[in-house]
């Protein structure tokens, strides 16, 4: 038993840390740290900096222009990025579509789409959920009907994250209503500029605009945009779900948020003492830290198994379940540490150059919004209930 990273892995961590320190624009890091809204260009700016270094495709195999890093190095890289408050890499193209194209796409599709998602030409979004198909995704109804060299797509997708910026959407569509629901689904790439597509914003409870509804009315899509075989889309989507499992827990991000919370609690006062010394608050803070420490080791165990080629099991469900609950608890404690001032909405303090008074302690203007926004994490990507079903089904086996 050895819980340490190897010397080579530790050197790699130092290399990544130093590079980020030298290349991450300070104003981007501040925005990420303060949970301030991030524009399209800011996300792309950081991706291009990474691309130039060759690290944007850190999770891709070398044959597709990736780094070829194994799960441990990928984890270290993600961990350092999160702790340094780097803007997140958009997962939709690089992490979700790319593995599917690499495994099931044609050479032409790979050559065309992969470079364009790296250099910022194509912004991808995901077309999975529908109004009637959330947890029960396989019941999806958006239809693609073959018509000569094209498919004609009709239907509606929802919860499309950052679809307002998207150039392309990868859709799960129904191409057959025969047999099991899962067997009539195909994986289709659709140009968002196609006539017949309408994107409508969904405003969330924190007032933000992150997700959208996407409507398809007689949208003509070249048949060559089908990925793999017709009616095999469910298999590809499932491949995607099990593919990303090593950093689903967000350990680095939670440590960064916890550090920030600890600093805040040391500055806030209750009964003349720092809040961090208040027994009730300190106990809550300690409990979430302990959960996080345990989860970190759970994550490392999964990582170690993956590095030696272990097959994926229930780990990604466990890590998703734990990771989101820990994340939510930290946002709850952060909101609470602000006391009465958590009620104030003063977005102007996050504007560049603002140097007026603050109602909430500096950097925490959006803490309540973040708390409410994070309610989504136990709902999206397979709700906690679905993750628990998966875990029990696989382990109890009934």
């Amino acid at each position: 038993m050895d819980l340490n990273f190897s010397q080579e892995e530790q050197d790699f961590r130092t290399e990544v840390r130093d590079w980020i320190a030298a290349n991450l624009p300070a104003e981007l890091a501040t925005k990420v740290r303060n949970d301030a809204p991030m524009g399209k260009q800011e996300i792309l700016d950081w991706q291009l900096i990474l691309h130039e270094k060759g690290w944007l495709t850190y999770m891709w195999p070398a044959e597709f222009g990736g780094t070829g890093w194994g799960p441990v190095k990928q984890f270290i890289f993600e961990d350092e990025m999160a702790r340094a408050c780097c803007p997140r890499i958009l997962p939709f193209g690089l992490k979700m579509l790319a593995p599917v194209l690499m495994k099931f796409g044609t050479k032409e599709q790979q050559d065309h789409y992969l470079p364009r998602m790296c250099d910022g030409t194509d912004w991808w979004c995901q077309g999975y959920s529908e109004p009637g198909s959330g947890s029960d995704l396989a019941s999806l109804k958006t239809a693609a009907v073959r018509d000569g060299d094209h498919y004609i797509v009709n239907g509606q997708k929802t919860w499309t994250t950052l679809g307002q910026h998207a150039d392309w959407i990868f859709n799960l569509v129904r191409t057959s209503s025969e047999g099991k629901q899962q067997e009539g689904i195909s994986f289709l790439l659709v140009d968002m500029k196609s006539p017949g597509i309408e994107v409508r914003p969904i405003r969330t409870i924190d007032g933000g605009h992150e997700v959208n509804e996407v409507f398809f009315t007689d949208v003509k899509v070249p048949a060559s945009n089908l990925v793999g075989e017709e009616n095999m889309g469910w298999t590809y989507a499932k491949y995607l779900l099990t593919h990303e499992r090593t950093n689903i827990a967000g350990v680095g991000k939670s440590y960064q948020e916890l550090d920030r919370l600890r600093d805040l609690a040391a500055k806030q006062k209750r009964n003349g003492k720092p809040l961090s010394e208040d027994p009730l608050f300190a106990a809550r803070l300690a409990k979430v830290e302990i959960d996080l420490m345990n989860m970190e080791v759970t994550n490392l165990r999964v990582l170690s198994a993956a590095e030696s080629g272990g097959a994926p099991g229930t780990e990604s469900s466990m890590l998703k379940l734990l990771g989101t609950e820990i994340e939510q608890e930290i946002t709850d404690l952060t909101r609470r540490a602000l006391g009465r001032s958590a009620q104030a909405l003063t977005p102007e303090v996050d504007e560049p150059g603002y140097n007026g008074p603050h109602v909430t302690p500096e950097g925490f203007n959006n803490a309540s919004g973040v708390y409410f926004n994070h309610r989504k994490t136990t709902i999206y990507g397979g709700s906690s209930e679905i993750q628990k079903n998966i875990i029990t089904k696989m382990i109890v086996g009934l």
Binding site: G134, A342, R375
Partner: protein
Amino acid sequence: MDFTQTETRRMLADTIERYLRDQYPLMPRVEAGNSETGYQQAHYDGLAELGVMAALFSEDQGGFGGDGFDIAVVFEEMGKRLVNEPVMDNALIPGAILAAAGKTDQVEEIIGGAARYALAAEEPHALYDLAEVDTTAQLSENAWRLNGSKTVVKYANGCDGFIVSARTDAGIGLYMVNAGDASLRSYTTTDGGRASELTLDNTPSTLIAENGADLLAEAQARAIVALSAEALGIMLTIREMTIEYLRTRKQFGLPIGKFQALQHRMAEMLVEIEQARSAVINAANVMTTPGAARDRIMAATKYSIGRIGRLVSEESIQMHGGIGMTWEYDLGHYAKRLIMIDHEWGDQDFHLARFIELGQAA
């Protein structure tokens, strides 16, 4: 033993319920926080006309209620419809303080809806402790001059005056500041209301009462009954929405309420809402009998409401899924207010500590 409300209170509840159902849609209320005052004057006046403000005060104060259960009934009904008219902040709280200080004229104006005041008691970084007062009062040329700052004074814009807590060598007193004499910086609040930071820079004022701590304890007891009853009303509406959703939303070919995972979540929420109702009854029952025993019950109630409020907000959103996260759907607005109630007059940790402390003292 009798847990039924009096006929008068039932009629009052029905009157408020009918008015709000017919005339108080949600979206104008949600957007009201962006206006200068943060509320809808026509509805504030409407509620005053219905006798809502009069129900908050006893007969010798010029009202027809003033008991804990009168306040609970009013705020439960307003919570059900997510009312953010500043009945608590601009009428109940300042009115209770002014009544206790013998300022009957001002109480009468409040009851009629003709005047609004706001209590400015909490200071930045005090974390709910109203005894943490750095603001000072000094007598000079026959006026008390105040220096300091107060945080998140709700619905301060447009008020006739502010009741400010300030320290002298003798302790914490309460002072009236004319609206025009204080400097305000206003903003929208997370729950769609409005609040201000109040700065006092040698600001003239008149003394209301020297025994500030006693009056603040009276105000706090009323605030806790009002906020807790409001929270209960919110929970009852969330409960209805969630029942409806579990019955009608289908996944895997079944109403989602057929799935045991959600049945158990729902059962826990239903049980806890009953606990919340009992907590409100406990507080309302002792509101007008000052002392450590009352304050311990107040702490127990506010703690319970904070804890259960979080559970109900989070669980109801979880059971709704994505739709519960949207601005367009009512639930999120109710959940936000329910969570923000924990950020007024002490959160669950504050009151749990207070409960322990008061228990040791008893």
